[in-house]
């Protein structure tokens, strides 16, 4: 009843092939965008922006990146954290080499370096599949992390081995460094994430996305139908790494302000992988839902007791958060192994037939 497309007639092929052919979807998306671009900036405080929304968007973008590779092209990767790190270090080097250039441009450009490195580490995917590929991407993770620690040129010979983001201005406002206001950083992160998500939504349903899915579903059949595995797989690696690289650069430029190599460790790779799996492999909206679950829920649980006035020791809260999140992950994976995206699909179906389910 609530979600029924009956009566929405299409009079042209263009309308029929639109990104969102159903009116309710378009309205829903507009509401979400309105909330993100208007309601949150007007009502949220600094904590909400810097500790919840910005990381959430950064992780969502990274999850989209990994989803391209793992969810759409079927190549399991454990190197996401390192590819994000490549983006971060590349953007950092770019801004120190070109101090007057626009930081936002540099962040977008940094993904190119990440894409190149991702493509190189994607080469083994032609010969090996599945879990074995995970091992070679794991090698990428360790090798790149080693580079971040051992190549001092990457962090400008800083004694502490960390990269510290300098103060930069773009379009007359401070966009990076400590003086950058949360609201400015939020808008940049939101803009880039929304833009890339929109582009990917279009790429994924087109020829390129379909060729990735063919490779995922059965690579021999895809090859027989004229899909070239080399180019397709490498393109998936490059596009995925590009998105992850931009996410990694945004992570340090617009969220953390400084990063040590350990910020891009294997645990980050796993975190993103869990977001993708929980959100739903092969779903863009799933990437957002997974990121919300893995990032926002623990922050939220951590600060609930304090805000409603229950006095619990900080470490107890931490332990309880671990337990609740862990239990919920298991619960959701049992209820719906295909993730939140699938749950949302089921919910939509229910809404469609309500109140007369069959």
């Amino acid at each position: 009843m609530f979600y029924r497309e009956a009566g929405q007639f299409k009079t042209s092929y263009k309308a029929d092939q639109a990104l969102m052919p159903i009116l309710q979807d378009r309205v829903g998306l507009l509401v979400i965008l309105a909330v993100a671009f208007v309601v949150i900036p007007v009502f949220a405080n600094d904590f909400f922006l810097t500790s919840i929304m910005i990381p959430f968007l950064v992780f969502s973008l990274a999850a989209i990146g990994l989803n391209v590779l793992t969810g759409f092209c079927g190549q399991l990767s454990l190197g996401t954290g390192a590819f994000m790190g490549v983006g971060a270090y590349a953007a950092y080097k770019l801004t120190s080499i070109f101090p007057d250039a626009n930081v936002i441009l540099m962040v977008l450009l940094s993904g190119v370096f990440s894409a190149a490195i991702g493509a190189v580490f994607g080469l083994p995917s032609l010969r090996i599949k599945g879990l074995y590929l995970a091992v070679t991407t794991l090698a990428a993770q360790f090798f790149l992390e080693w580079c971040f620690i051992r190549i001092p040129w990457l962090y400008n010979y800083n004694a502490s081995g960390a990269i510290e983001i300098p103060h930069r201005e773009a379009f007359g406002v401070v966009v990076s460094g400590a003086e950058a206001t949360p609201i400015v950083r939020y808008f940049i992160v939101l803009g880039i994430t929304a833009l890339i998500a929109y582009l990917m939504a279009n790429v994924l349903r087109g020829r390129i996305g379909r060729s990735w899915m063919m490779i995922r579903d059965m690579d021999i059949a895809a090859e027989l139908m004229g899909i070239r595995p080399l180019q397709t797989k490498l393109m998936a690696f490059a596009v995925s790494s590009y998105i992850c690289g931009v996410a990694g650069a945004m992570m340090v430029f617009f969220w953390l302000n400084a990063a040590e190599p350990s910020s891009y460790s294997i645990s980050l790779s796993f975190q993103i992988l869990f977001m993708v799996i929980l959100g739903g492999l092969g779903s863009l909206s799933g990437a957002f839902m997974g990121a919300a679950f893995i990032w926002i829920l623990p922050v939220f649980l951590k600060f609930i007791p304090g805000t409603i006035g229950i006095n619990v020791a900080a470490e107890t809260v931490e332990h309880i958060t671990f337990m609740i999140v862990g239990a919920l992950i298991i619960f959701f994976l049992i209820v719906e192994p295909h993730g939140f995206a699938r749950l949302w699909q089921i919910a939509k179906q229910k809404l469609r037939v309500w109140p007369f389910p069959y």
Partner: protein, 443 residues
């Protein structure tokens, strides 16, 4: 499917309640000074972090219980768990800064580095007591950061000076090999520039053995290299699970323990005890009192621990790291008191706190008044020198407890200070435009 509906509804309600709570800033008590404590009682560094957290919490809590706070105003304490993780640390910072936080003690060099640029913007000082960015000791560049009583570079110079003393003069270091085993993070890498400089100056060879955070509990390859290289001395910059592992490994390869010297963060009782009988003779630098024989610690036991207001195990009072936490809180408390005197206000702000810390003068008489005579070397912060470059002593593990093994050793200030200033200038240049100091000097 009814259950899923209920879950969805329940989650929505819970989220709504929580967000409305988050969105409205918590009304803070008007008659209290709010001190957030960034601590870690979980994760791989908890073994060290718990003692520090207990020490910091208990001393401030004791002031509340015994004196009703500072200057008649209670302290409002809140712990936030960081797990030694920079992301969580920043999250804690963002969550607590709006409540009128006076000062931050990140207890992690990684978190400190992130907070340094924010401190001047948010007008909340950072007190990194004996850790963090060494260059921050230059108060003219870093007015908002304090690292009393010592920087890592002071510590590194003391180690070399002490080794020189053992060898009968710094000139005898020529041709010697000194191994440096360190946690491969911002923390452990901080002293390397100074050690390299000293190696060049005195002609000893510096051998580096980095230990990654992931391999903290498996250092056999590093110690295999130590056995091969046969350094004359070993210096350690370790933290958390790295310390006991290193000491155990050193015992295993029969490294002479009296030639193994740790920084003040590798001076925990549990760390040394892990080495068993063989750890006897292990040395570490320290700048906070040894043992529990101080009236203020008795007060903590009476008012806080025995009263059940803390999670401290009574037997850990007087441990090196516990006392370190207490000293940290003494500096916070004295900073607040000085700020109250300077401004005449009871409830102070972060800006007042900055002045209080900059005018901090913890002399012997004051330490005695606090019931902590001999607990630390007298400290005096000036506007130029935010560390004070205070002397440290060497303590030795006798198999059961720490024993002071040397007098107070002055750091090589003449050598360290110019390097600090150069590093501060470099930091400001790298982070250009770094704001020039505009804060007036309270002294």
């Amino acid at each position: 499917m009814k259950s899923i509906k209920q879950i969805a509804l329940g989650t929505a309600v819970a989220l709504g309640v929580g967000f409305s709570g988050l969105a409205t800033t918590v009304a803070q008590a008007e008659d209290a000074n709010y001190v957030p404590l960034l601590t870690y009682r979980t994760g791989p560094f908890a073994a060290s972090g718990i003692h520090i957290a207990n020490g910091m919490h208990d001393y401030l809590k004791m002031l509340n219980e015994r004196d009703g706070g500072i200057g008649g105003v209670k302290l409002e304490l809140e712990e936030c768990e960081t797990g030694y993780n920079a992301q969580k640390g920043v999250e804690c910072y963002e969550a607590t800064k709006g409540k009128g936080a006076l000062v931050y003690n990140p207890y992690s060099t990684g978190i400190t580095l992130q907070l340094i640029p924010k401190a001047g913007v948010d007008k909340i000082p950072v007190l990194s007591m004996g850790y963090g960015l060494s260059a921050a000791a230059d108060g003219s560049v870093f007015p908002w950061v304090f690292n009393v009583p010592d920087t890592y570079w002071d510590g590194a110079s003391v180690v070399i000076k002490y080794i020189g003393e053992q060898e009968g003069g710094l000139d005898n270091l020529k041709g010697k090999k000194i191994g440096y085993i360190f946690l491969d993070a911002g923390y452990g890498r901080e002293p390397i520039p100074l050690l390299e400089q000293l190696a060049e100056k005195y002609g000893f060879e510096l051998l580096q053995y980095p230990v990654g955070v992931k391999e903290m509990q498996n250092q056999s390859s590093q110690w295999l290299n130590v056995r091969r290289d046969r350094p004359d001395y070993m210096v350690m910059w370790g933290w958390g699970a790295m310390n006991p592992t290193a000491i155990k490994e050193a015992v295993k390869i029969r490294f002479p323990m009296d030639k193994f010297i740790g920084v003040w963060w590798s001076a925990g009782d549990d760390d040394a005890a892990a080495g068993g009988e063989g750890a006897k003779g292990y040395k570490a630098m320290n700048f906070s009192g040894v043992g529990s024989d101080f009236p203020a610690l008795d007060d903590i036991k009476k008012h806080v621990v025995d009263a059940g207001l803390s999670s401290t195990d009574a037997s850990s009072i007087g441990g090196t790291l516990y006392n370190r936490g207490v000293l940290n809180s003494v500096i916070i408390a004295e900073g607040i008191r000085t700020a109250q005197e300077l401004t005449g206000k009871k409830v102070i702000t972060g800006e007042d706190m900055r002045m209080g810390l900059e005018a901090l003068n913890l002399d012997e008489a004051r330490l005695k008044e606090l019931g902590l005579a001999g607990f630390a070397h007298p400290m005096k912060v000036t506007c130029e020198d935010h560390a004070g470059s205070h002397p440290v002593f060497i303590q030795e593990w006798d198999g059961k407890q720490w024993r002071q093994a040397s007098g107070w050793i002055e750091p090589m200030t003449d050598l360290v200070r110019p390097l600090l200033e150069a590093a501060a200038a470099e930091y400001a240049e790298k982070n250009a435009p770094w704001p020039a100091r505009t804060e007036p000097c309270p002294n």
